[in-house]
């Protein structure tokens, strides 16, 4: 009987011209967004990879110079455009694409698309995520709002009841059929996304397949939640127009009002310091410590004495190593500690803001899927932090290598300008590379969003099991 209901519902749906038109439009829109998104992602990734290579060549070709000058000459790290960002750009437009890496200085990841783009960037792009998260629930609402209320209005519910059909079974059949319809509209796009991934080949695509599968599963759960929610409202609302208004109200609250309110609430509860305050705190912290260039520094003097004692000499000229190299590295490490402290503070604030939004996923499934989608697409805050940390680790390493060379090889008595290194030495620094976190790590990190979706799913299934036998045929 369940199959009979599902078959009849699908047949009715397939013959519905409004559904045909909206399905074609939505599939077209989705495929366009995916194709354009993928093209854009590939272009941007190619540009960034080319820029990364070019900058590495610039590093190698910087000529003969002192290693510390090379550390100041610096290097660039470009954030790779995550392969699944063609489905969800997330925060990518706002978080910057590259960072200049140099001695003594931790620079911000800068040049975001929003910074460079026009006003429309800030209103969001037409991405698959926008369609899936915002427009699909709207489609589900229009497919489902009258699924039972219209049957009640038109008397077919009474006739079905009179035939001995249990209301729970009818509800289940309708939910299954609507969900299948939604999947038939949703899955072609995901198949297209898989095809595009496989076309790209290589290790990036291999890692992305698991994430795309998880993303597909996440959206499938999200849609099921909306189908259940809409069908329940339809089942217990006497008039279809009331059901529609109720669901549209819920959609506005879930997809527009709460996300904005959540951001404002997070901002007001956990205030982020300005860029100016952040830099000032670092500068003040560094000013109190070793900077490596200031011989009058008390900490530097203490360090110097320790080094002299270690080598049992009385002047730096007698040292078998280069004192400036040691001092530079000590300054670096002190600055790193200050930066880590201040960066942790600001990261903590951002993380608390994100956590609040993730917890609100238990009240609003849209927030849960948004976080999950951004994380799997590699465009959320955590990914940005991971890139910033990787770039900073790279900076610290190459500065340390430069300082170490200076310490060991720039012997006392050789003038600064007389000690130089060249391409062979610069090439000991590997090109910057950054691996996105794996699927398992991401999902473990997103447990709140996953739990929120599962709680929504379980709660609605529970409500449906308990209350659908009470659906009135009148």
């Amino acid at each position: 009987m369940f199959k009979l209901i599902v078959r009849k519902e699908l047949r009715t749906a397939v013959r519905d011209v409004r559904l045909q038109v909206s399905a074609v439009l939505l599939i077209g829109l989705m495929c366009t967004a995916v194709l354009l998104g993928r093209q854009g992602q590939q272009q941007i990734q190619a540009q960034r990879a080319a820029a990364q290579t070019a900058m590495y060549d610039v590093w190698l070709d910087q000529g003969e110079k002192h290693p510390h000058s090379a550390a100041h000459y610096g290097h660039f790290a470009f954030k790779p455009k995550p392969v699944l960002s063609f489905l969800d750009v997330g925060l990518d437009n706002y978080t910057g694409v590259s960072v200049f890496l140099e001695a003594h200085q931790q620079n911000e990841v800068s040049f975001s698309a929003a910074q460079d783009g026009n006003g429309t960037t800030r209103f969001g792009e037409l991405t698959a995520a926008l369609i899936l998260q915002v427009l699909f629930p709207l489609l589900i609402i229009f497919l489902t709002f009258n699924t039972l209320s219209r049957e009640r209005e038109e008397g077919t519910l009474r006739l079905a009841y009179a035939q001995g059909l249990s209301m729970r079974r009818l509800f289940a059949g309708k939910v299954a059929a609507t969900y299948l319809t939604v999947l038939l509209i949703f899955l072609p796009t995901m198949v297209l996304a898989f095809v595009l991934l496989y076309q790209s080949g290589g290790g990036v695509a291999a890692g992305a397949v698991g994430k795309l599968l998880a993303l597909t599963a996440g959206y499938a759960v999200y849609f099921f939640i909306f189908v259940l929610l809409c069908a329940l409202v339809s089942a217990f609302t006497r008039r279809s127009e009331v059901a529609l208004l109720t669901l549209l109200g819920l959609w506005i609250v879930c997809c527009i009002v709460v996300p904005k309110a959540a951001t404002s609430l997070a901002d007001s509860l956990y205030t982020t310091p300005s860029q100016f305050e952040f830099r000032r705190d670092i500068d003040e912290g560094v000013a109190g410590g070793i900077d490596g260039h200031n011989p009058a520094d008390e900490r530097l003097a203490t360090l110097k004495q320790e080094v002299l004692d270690e080598y049992r000499v009385s002047t730096t000229e007698e040292l078998p190593v280069n004192w400036s190299g040691i001092a530079m590295q000590a300054g670096e490490e002190y600055t790193d500690r200050v930066y880590d402290r201040e960066f942790s503070k600001i990261e903590h604030v951002f993380r608390r803001q994100n956590r609040l939004s993730e917890w609100l996923g238990f009240l609003n499934p849209y927030l849960a899927i948004r976080h999950l989608s951004m994380a799997l697409a590699g465009t959320d805050f955590d990914h940005h932090v991971a890139f910033a940390r990787a770039a900073e680790a790279y900076r610290r390493n190459f500065v340390r290598v430069m300082n170490k060379d200076m310490e060991l090889n720039h012997h006392p008595g050789i003038a600064f300008g007389d000690y130089t290194r060249g391409r062979d030495f610069w090439s000991t620094i590997e090109p910057f590379s950054y691996e996105l976190p794996g699927t398992a790590a991401l999902l473990a990190h997103q447990w709140r969003s996953l739990a929120a979706l599962l709680v929504w799913l379980s709660a609605l299934v529970g409500i449906a099991i308990v209350f659908t036998p009470k659906i009135s045929p009148l």
């Binding site: 009979l4 008397g155 009474r158 006739l159 079905a160 009841y161 009179a162 035939q163 009135s472």
Partner: protein, 237 residues
């Protein structure tokens, strides 16, 4: 057999049905007459288990009807007043679907034969219901009821809005059901149809069955006078 014993239904303070006693045996057609709000549809709804009685009980073939327990539904067939069915499905598909819900599987040929037996033209069986007239939809309703093969038939204003030809066709099908031993309870405004088709007639007013008589005991003119007099009488709640 359909039985109501001291059947009462109130909505808040409003008495929709008061202490109704009624019995319809197999092979009988009991027509309930009355103005809007007299309690006819409430009676049908209580037999179908669409709503729970406030007091009293409803029995179908001796089995008590319990609200939201559909055990007795297999004994009943039902045709509502406005049978809309599913507009995007054909007459045949509608019949197959509703028959399937009562666990009666019909293939296309069986469905078409059944639809033709209730007077639907062969070409119409594969047309979508949205193009059917009300009379044609009612015929599909009869076919659904027949496919179920239940011994009791409940009809809620089945001829309202039908043209005379369609109404006559409907009466013929009803008579066939009666001859097959089906117990029929029909709510209607149509005095002529009640007199012509019914074996028994009940006149309801303000939730009460005021008169219950055999159809043969009364002429159409007398029925009309009795009906009008009943509508004007003061019924004490």
């Amino acid at each position: 057999m359909l039985q109501a014993r001291q059947l009462t239904k109130t909505y808040g303070d409003y008495p929709a049905l008061q202490r109704l006693d009624l019995e319809v045996k197999g092979g009988e057609i009991y027509c309930l007459l009355g103005a809007n709000g007299a309690g006819k549809t409430t009676t049908i709804n209580l037999f179908m288990g669409f709503t729970a009685p406030t007091a009293g009980e409803v029995l179908v073939d001796g089995r008590r009807v319990v609200y939201s327990n559909q055990a007795t539904n297999e004994l009943l067939a039902y045709i509502p007043e406005n049978l809309n069915l599913y507009g995007n499905l054909t007459g045949r598909e509608n019949l197959q679907y509703f028959a399937g819900l009562s666990k009666k599987r019909l293939n296309g040929t069986e469905a078409d034969e059944l639809l033709r037996s209730v007077g639907l033209q062969a070409a119409a069986t594969s047309q979508r219901i949205r193009y059917y007239s009300k009379g044609m939809r009612q015929k599909v309703g009869i076919a659904i009821a027949r496919a179920k093969g239940a011994g009791n038939l409940l009809l809620d204003e089945p001829t309202s809005g039908l043209d005379p030809q369609a109404s006559n066709d409907f009466a013929r099908l009803l008579e066939e059901s009666r001859q097959n031993g089906v117990a029929v309870l029909m709510a209607t405004h149509d005095l002529f149809r009640a007199k012509e088709s019914g074996t028994h007639i009940g006149i309801m007013r303000a939730g009460r069955l005021v008169h219950s008589l055999a159809s043969r005991e009364i002429t159409l003119g007398e029925l009309e006078q009795l009906y009008l007099a009943t509508m004007q009488m003061d019924v004490h709640v």
